[in-house]
Symmetry: C2
Subunit: 116 residues, 2 copies
Amino acid sequence: MVSSSNCHMTAEQVFAKLQSTYPKVALATVYNNLNRLCEDGAIRRVSMEGMPDHYDHIQRHDHLVCQQCGQLLDVDLGDLTQQLEAKAGVSILSYDLKLVYVCENCKKTINGKECE
Amino acid sequence: MVSSSNCHMTAEQVFAKLQSTYPKVALATVYNNLNRLCEDGAIRRVSMEGMPDHYDHIQRHDHLVCQQCGQLLDVDLGDLTQQLEAKAGVSILSYDLKLVYVCENCKKTINGKECE
DNA sequence: ACACCAATTTGGAATCATTCTAAAAGTAAT
DNA sequence: ATTACTTTTAGAATGATTCCAAATTGGTGT
């Protein structure tokens, strides 16, 4: 079965990767299984503006998103639940925190053309 | 011109609302202008998993998202930039923070059917 | 081996939000 | 009112994802 990956793959990428080993899997199956795994809490879906969903491991962590190229990077800021609950005044189930920055690659490349 | 609204409307909702007063505006125009306003920093786009983009005012604030019905609510946790930068160890341009909770409405309704 | 039921997979059509495109309509200055 | 520019329009196109009904696969008991 499709097991979770260590990077931040999209359904399409998982599909592509699978094709070499299992040439007959259908894209629908990939979506089915990714969805199932998400429901079961085995993997985590990361959606970002204007790009296909990425799938990620479930260990607690947050994300750095490059403003230029959209590249996604894990970063662990620790568990802020307590703090956020206190400030918001409601009890929360979870939270989604994305830090927008400019990745090293894009910092070099003057106008961010060659990223990703 | 289409000016920003005080709630969290989708392009479709803006379109619908406009139709009564300007029956000939096209949906494409709404998208054009919402996009422009976003670029110009006059409004803010809020994208959430599995639902159309919502548009929001630009004053600094974060969001509460109901897990059941997806309803979006403003909440202000103050500016966490300093703190997050310190923890992440990189300088960030901005951040996007969504707190997942269960709204009052959905808490009442035993299985969240009647929300939104 | 064999038949039976359930669960999974397939491939292709369908959906939905959004963008693209090329033509039409405004708007302004000359 | 003529050119030059910008905005708008309508509808087609796109792209990610879901839906669907048919086909395949997996046991399980015999």
